[in-house]
Amino acid sequence: MAVEQGRTETASSPDGVLAGLATRTENLSEQAYAYMLLVPAFTVLLLFAFWPLASAIRMSFFADVITGGQLGEFTGLTNYVQLLTNTNALAPAAFVDPSFQTPILEQALFMTILFAVLSVTGETLLGFLYAMLMKAEYRGRRLVRLLIILPWAIPIVIQGMIFFLLFRPGYGLLTEPLQQLGLFSSLPLNTTFDSFVIVTVADIWKTSAFMALLILAGLESVNQDLYEVADVMGASRWQRFRYITFPLVFPVLMVAMLFRTMGALRVYGIIESTTVGCSTVPSMTCLVTQFMFGSASLYGSAAAVSVLIAIVVGLFIMVYLGFIRRSNQSLGLA
């Protein structure tokens, strides 16, 4: 029977292999063990993310070659200086215009930040509502859950098409009503402000599901016993939320908002696909893509914008981390 047992052990394939490995490593110290567990993930990341990232950063210190495809000579911070002083004539839009002659929404930096703040706020609020709706008990809730998640499953190109067709000049279903209400111009997709609103709404529409899913998962993981306690203690609905739900969902919420903010600060696809276009609503990532894939491939500048974006995103993340630390919640980061 011992033999049999041995066989079944190895036979239970992935578990078996894993178990073998696990047994051998079980005696490692917590420290060593943790590192061992991180090896697979970080190997992949090192090869396919960190290394290319480092190469890209390196690229940012080299000059553009107009005929494209290659790197010019080492130029130090020139690319950055040009971008920050808005003196790169080849830049499809101003990253930031120090003279402030370019309208705010046409400066990639400010446009993107505004977009991120609005969309993440909208998505978080809507996401919370959706999550509650998905969690509540009523008939047909399975369907509702599905429907809430679906927008997230729509490829961005199609999302763009949907909104394009809604706001298409002349024919778009919403073009005329909104124009008559005086909210939009007759060419919303060509007007920076209108387009900005459309892109923001489109993003909130699609991405609230992301938030909702994560928040829902957070809600579901809260030990229901605690609500009983709170109820007996006399907590109102709001207080339950304030003292139990919110703090316990907070870590998940932070993860969701963190990643949504990072995503929003890198917004690009929705702008391109609604045919609003980068020239109407120039986001930071628009610059990267246009530098890189405009027929002149300006790798140096593209990389430099990426690094600038990373710095902006990084600053935002610091705000989050500060927030996390202050609220005394540990994500392991603060």
Partner: protein, 441 residues
């Protein structure tokens, strides 16, 4: 890496294998492969038409990717004549002048539409890199029935084919026709903030009004940095004003242009105007050749009657932007000999005729225009096409054009939406484009 680099792969000189052509869905399942074999491609060669999934811009991007990847497939690519030169300049396409026999090259030069051949030629060496596949011309399609109601007749239609009205006359005619009918729109064209505005629709206004991007047609392909930027000249501003006038009718331009285009054109591109016109909602439309076929079939069995004329004239005559696609070879192909066979066969008349029959693509050889003339659908409008073919103007294709075109599109569109005055738009363009010229010179 040059064309020779990877063209010498082991199988590169043998006939056989599969030749992949990065063409388009219009070429799939219309019997092109058969026709090419009939036109001389040995049977040992398989030909595969690959559908590039997207519009011009993405196709360009994908081609760039494939070439950067030193991919062996596709062996042949159809490239937009509007963005081929940067590839040529970077040696990202095979120099056919070197690789193919001189006789064939000479034949192409001789038989092909000149403006198409120019867009496939190295601007400095003059070597031919690409063979025209089909040219595309902008024309005005219009509703004869409405114009008749407004008092115009066949004689007018007749004369416009070879002597189009001026912008002033044209807008007058459209205005009359529209006021006498319940058609929603007057003249449609593509004024959205997109590639086509810079290269084509605005360029047409600009040129016909006597303006130019870089001082004149000679400088369109460069040299970058060594050419004047002339967007702030009086004539160039006239070009913007004409485009604005045709929407808003404010009489800014020296011509007496009426506002017959709806504000929406500033947000429309080809499919929008095409479907609107075909639905009978407009009097006239500027669009490419292929739109004739669409209108013909849409108008069939209705009261609507189709007319086609060249683009109206300005002080500088009538200007038509060059459209169309040309065929080039991937420098990394591993099947060059076979690919050459395909290129050669594609220049044969039956192939080009099939292409016209099945996909409404004009043949790139003027001598075949008679074939077009005889065709049932397009034949009646051939004269107009011919006129535009004769009044073509190439696009300003250089490696910095992508950056410049978005500035042009942006500023002109802003002017069309009256966000900026024509002068403001002009000076903004002038300043930014000059800066690019300077930085990249």
């Amino acid at each position: 890496s040059g064309g020779g680099d990877s063209g010498d792969g082991g199988s590169g000189d043998e006939i056989g294998g599969t030749v992949t052509v990065f063409s388009g869905s219009a070429f799939v399942d219309i019997g092109m492969e058969e026709a090419l074999h009939d036109a001389g491609v040995p049977d040992s060669i398989d030909i595969e038409m690959v559908v590039p999934p997207q519009d011009s811009g993405s196709k360009q991007q994908q081609l760039r990717t494939a070439i950067n990847a030193e991919e062996a497939d596709p062996d042949l690519v159809l490239t937009d004549n509007g963005w081929t030169i940067p590839f040529i300049v970077r040696d990202d396409l095979v120099n056919l002048e070197e690789e193919m026999d001189d006789e064939f090259i000479a034949r192409v030069r001789e038989e092909g539409v000149q403006s198409m051949i120019d867009t496939g030629t190295h601007p400095e060496t003059g070597d031919l890199y690409s063979v025209p596949v089909f040219p595309d011309y902008p024309v005005i399609t219009y509703r004869k029935d409405l114009l008749r109601d407004a008092g115009y007749g066949d004689s007018d239609f007749e004369s416009w084919r070879t002597d189009p009205p001026t912008w002033a006359e044209f807008t007058q005619i459209v205005a009359e026709a529209q006021s006498g009918s319940d058609v929603q729109y007057g003249h449609l064209w593509q004024g959205n903030n997109y590639v086509g505005l810079a290269c084509c629709t605005f360029n047409e206004f600009l040129t016909s009004m006597g303006g130019a991007f870089f001082g004149g047609e000679d400088n369109l392909f460069g040299p970058v940095g060594d050419r004047p930027v002339t967007l702030d000249t009086e004539e160039s501003i006239d070009g913007i004003e004409a485009a604005v006038d045709i929407i808003h009718g404010e009489g800014l331009s020296p011509m007496d242009i009426e506002g017959v285009s709806p504000q929406e054109v500033a947000g429309w591109i080809e499919p929008d105007t095409k479907s609107t016109f075909e639905a009978g909602s407009a009097v006239t439309q500027r669009n490419w050749t292929y739109s004739i076929g669409g209108a013909v079939s849409s108008f069939e069995g209705t009261d609507m009657e189709l007319g086609v004329m060249p683009l109206p004239q300005g002080p500088n005559g009538s200007a038509h932007a060059q459209g169309g696609w040309i065929m080039s070879m991937n420098p990394h192909t591993d099947n060059m000999a076979s690919a050459k066979e395909v290129i050669k066969a594609w220049w044969e008349d039956p192939v080009l005729q099939l292409q016209f029959d099945e996909a409404s693509y004009m043949p790139p050889k003027p001598e075949l225009f008679s074939y077009v003339q005889e065709s049932e659908a397009v034949g009646p409008y051939f004269e107009a096409l011919q006129y535009s073919a004769q009044n073509l103007m190439p696009r300003p294709t250089t490696s910095v054009w992508p950056n410049q075109r978005s500035i042009v599109a942006n500023e002109v569109n802003a002017a069309l939406r009256k966000e900026k005055s024509p002068e403001e738009a002009a000076s903004a363009m002038q300043e930014q484009i000059a800066a690019i010229e300077e930085q990249s010179g």
